[in-house]
Symmetry: C2
C-alpha cells in the first residue's frame, strides 16, 4: 500500500499567491465591471526587450532547420550563456566564478525549492521573517520544519529572524545556530538591503558555525546605492559557504519566459564532497535544461544594447517605486523599501491586520496588494506593493489608495 | 553544521548519458577527424514542425507588446493547452480527463523525477529491469532504494522486474508486493509494448494490492499496432491507481524545447487525500510554469496541420527503425523493438558485455549507442540503438556496423 508524503498535509492553506489569485478571481466574478489593478504578485508588465525578441526569433529560426536545430541542452546549460554570466555578473564586479560553477535553470523559484534536495532532511533552517514563502514551504515538504503551530503562525523547528521596523528590516544573527540560512537581498517582501559590511558578518558567521547560506539575489538589478553588494561573492570567504540564486525574471521581464541560474562554487565542501557535484548530479538527473531558445534570449541581455534596454526597464519600474513611496508618504503611510528594490513595504493603517487591509484595498480601491502576514508572522500589520505595474495603472492605483 | 543528503553518495557513477557524453567527448578529442554518428541518446534530429515554428514566432511577437505580453503562467499551465490535451490525447480515445487533472511541465524527465516528492520515503518501488535510469536514480536520491550492491548491480530495497528475451521483454507481476510501480510503454530502452489486456492486469493488480502505477507514456506516438494502448486510462479502474506522464519531446521533437505533462486523476486518493492536490501544491510551490511561448508551441501540434506534420516526423523516424531492424537482422543480429517504438534493442554479439560492445562500436564503427547494462543488470548483454538519427546517418551507421 503506497504512502503519501505526509509533510504536505502539515502545510497551512495554499501557496500565498494561489490564495490571492482565488480571492481576486472571486471578487472579479462578483464584480465583473470593476477595473482591478494588481500591485500584488511580483509579476512584470513591460514587454520583453527588443534584443530579447530578436534573439528569440533568431533562435526559433535555428530550430526550423535540421542543420541548426538543437536537441537536449548540455546539463549545466549552454556555455555561451554561462560565459556571459561569469563575465558580466561576476568578473565585472571583481568576482571569479568558473563557468562550471554556474547552473542554468528554468528560474529562481524552482532552484530555491529544489536546492533542498542536496541537503539532509535533518538540517535546521533559518529564515528572515517575513520571507518569500517558497523557502519555508519547500522545507516543510521535505520534513525539515517540524510542525506548524497555528497560534504563532510559526513552524516548530525553524529559526525565525524577525525583520521589522525595530531591526530596520534586517535580520540579526540568531541565538540558536542554524545549519542552512536563507538570505534574500534586495529583500522580497520588505525591499530592504544590507551593506557589504553587514553581509560580510553573515559570511563570517556561516564560516565560523559551519552553516551554509542560500543567497537569493533575484533583485540585484534594482540596487541603486553604492555600498549594497550585488553578489554575496563580493564578501570574503563566501565562495566557501554560500550558494547564490539569480533570476532573469525581474531584471529582464522573464517571469513568463522562465530562466534563472544557481552558482555553487567548487570550494564548498562537506567532508570532502563538493556540493557542486551533488547539484550537478541533481541537475542532470531531475532536470533536462532550459529551452535553447530561452537560453539564447537570456544571453541577449548581456550585449551592450541588451544592457541598455534592460536597464531602462528597471528604471521604469523604479520610477514607479519612487512614486509609490512618495505618494504613500504624502498620504500619511509609514513606508520602507523601494530604493534598491521594486517592493514597497508599508505599515497597515488603523491597526488593521494584513488581510483586513487586503480586503479593504480590493473592495474599496480595487487594488490588489500582498498581505504581509502571508510572508510570516512578523509580516503581520504590514503590506507589500510592487512597482511592476504600468506607470499609468500605478498612478491610478495610488489615487484610489489616497482616497480610501 | 549543515549536512548533505548522503543518499547522493550511494549513487554509482554518474548519470548514464553524462558518462556516455564524456566517453564520446574524449574519443572525439583524441580523434578529431573521425565522423561519429550518434544513435545513442534518445535525442531527435529533425527540425521543429512548421506549425510549431509559426506558433513560436507568433508567441514571441505577443511577448514584444505590453498589451499581449504574458508574465507568470497559471499554476497548472495554460488552459488552451490543457484543453487541447484533454480533447486530443484523451477524449479522442474515449477517455475523460478533466483539464484540472492535467499539469503542464518542462518535460517528462523532470516530472518522473519530481513525482517522488509527493510520496513518503518509505515506499518500496518496483521497476522494470532494464529501465530508464531516472526512476531509480531519483528514488535513490530520496533514500527509497536501500544500498547499491556493486556485485549485483542492484539496489537492496528495489523490486526488479526482469524484462529479457525470456519474458518477451515484458515485466511479470512481482512476487514481493511493491508500493509504487514504474511502467513505461512503449518501453525505453527495449522498445517493447504490452497489449491492453496485459496492461489491464497491472491496473487490476495495483487496485488489489493498493499500489500506485507511474506510467510513462512518452513514446505513445510511435505505437503502430492496434491492440497496444496509448494511455493507461484506456484500462478500467486506472483512474483510481495510475499517474500518467507524457512528453512533447519525441512526438514533436521538443527535446531542446522542453514541454511535457502529468495526469493525476482526482479519483486517486490516499486516506481521503487527493494526490492531485498534493501535486498541485508541489507544482505551485517548486515550479513556475513552462514558458508561455513553449506552451503555445505545444498547442500548435494539436491543429489539423500540426497533427499531420508531427505524424510525418514520427513516420520518418519509424522508417529508420524499420531499416535498423532489417539490416541488423540481415547481418545476423538478434533484434527486438522498433515496431511501436523508436528504440531497437539488440543482443550483443560474441557474448560481449554491453560496454565492450559500446567501445567496439565507438572505436571501430564510430557509432555511438547505449550499453544495455546502463539501464539495469538485466540489460547486460544488450544494446540500444535509436531511430532518431537522420536517414542518411542511420544508413551510413548501419553500413559500418555490418562491416564490423
Amino acid at each position: 500500500m503506497y504512502k503519501i508524503n505526509e509533510n504536505y498535509l502539515k502545510l497551512p492553506g495554499s501557496y500565498l499567491f494561489s490564495t490571492i489569485g482565488k480571492k481576486v478571481g472571486e471578487y472579479k466574478t462578483a464584480n465583473p465591471d470593476k477595473d482591478i489593478i494588481s500591485l500584488g504578485i511580483g509579476d512584470v508588465t513591460l514587454a520583453l526587450a527588443p534584443v530579447v525578441i530578436q534573439a528569440l526569433h533568431g533562435a526559433v529560426d535555428e530550430m526550423a532547420n535540421a542543420e541548426t536545430f538543437k536537441g537536449y541542452a548540455p546539463d549545466l546549460g549552454y556555455e555561451f550563456l554561462r560565459s556571459a554570466i561569469a563575465k558580466n555578473d561576476y568578473k565585472a564586479r571583481g568576482v571569479d566564478i568558473d563557468i562550471d560553477e554556474i547552473f542554468i535553470s528554468d528560474g529562481a523559484k524552482s532552484d530555491s525549492g529544489n536546492i533542498g534536495d542536496i541537503f539532509s532532511n535533518d538540517n535546521k533552517i533559518a529564515v528572515c521573517d517575513p520571507v518569500y514563502p517558497v523557502y519555508v514551504d519547500t522545507n516543510a515538504m521535505a520534513g525539515r520544519t517540524g510542525d506548524y503551530v497555528e497560534s504563532t503562525g510559526k513552524w516548530s523547528n525553524v529559526v525565525y529572524m524577525p525583520c521589522t521596523a525595530e531591526t530596520n528590516f534586517a535580520p540579526e544573527i540568531p541565538k540558536e545556530t542554524p545549519d542552512i540560512i536563507y538570505l534574500c537581498f534586495p529583500n522580497n517582501p520588505t525591499g530592504s538591503t544590507i551593506t557589504k559590511t553587514e553581509l560580510q558578518k553573515w559570511v563570517d558567521y556561516a564560516l565560523e558555525s559551519g552553516a551554509i547560506i542560500i543567497y537569493d539575489a533575484a533583485y540585484e538589478a534594482y540596487i541603486s546605492e553604492e555600498d549594497v553588494p550585488h553578489s554575496i561573492y563580493e564578501c570574503e570567504g563566501a565562495k566557501k559557504c554560500a550558494i547564490e540564486i539569480r533570476s532573469f525574471s525581474k531584471n529582464a521581464g522573464f517571469t513568463g519566459t522562465r530562466l534563472g541560474f544557481t552558482v555553487i562554487p567548487k570550494d564548498i565542501k562537506s567532508d570532502g564532497t563538493m556540493l557542486n557535484s551533488l547539484w550537478a548530479r541533481r541537475h542532470g538527473t531531475k532536470f533536462n535544461g532550459a529551452p535553447y531558445i530561452i537560453q539564447k534570449a537570456g544571453a541577449a541581455i548581456y550585449s551592450e544594447e541588451g544592457k541598455k534596454q534592460t536597464k531602462d526597464m528597471v528604471a521604469y519600474y523604479m520610477n514607479n517605486a519612487k512614486m509609490i513611496c512618495e505618494e504613500l508618504k504624502n498620504a500619511g503611510y509609514n513606508v520602507s523599501g523601494g530604493i534598491n528594490a521594486p517592493y514597497i513595504w508599508l505599515k497597515t493603517p488603523d491597526n488593521m491586520t494584513s488581510w483586513e487591509f487586503f480586503d479593504r484595498l480590493l473592495e474599496n480601491a480595487n487594488v490588489v496588494g500582498t498581505p504581509g502576514s502571508g510572508f510570516g508572522p512578523s509580516g503581520e500589520g504590514y503590506f507589500r506593493l510592487t512597482a511592476f505595474g504600468s506607470y499609468e495603472n500605478t498612478k491610478k492605483a495610488l489615487e484610489r489608495i489616497k482616497n480610501l
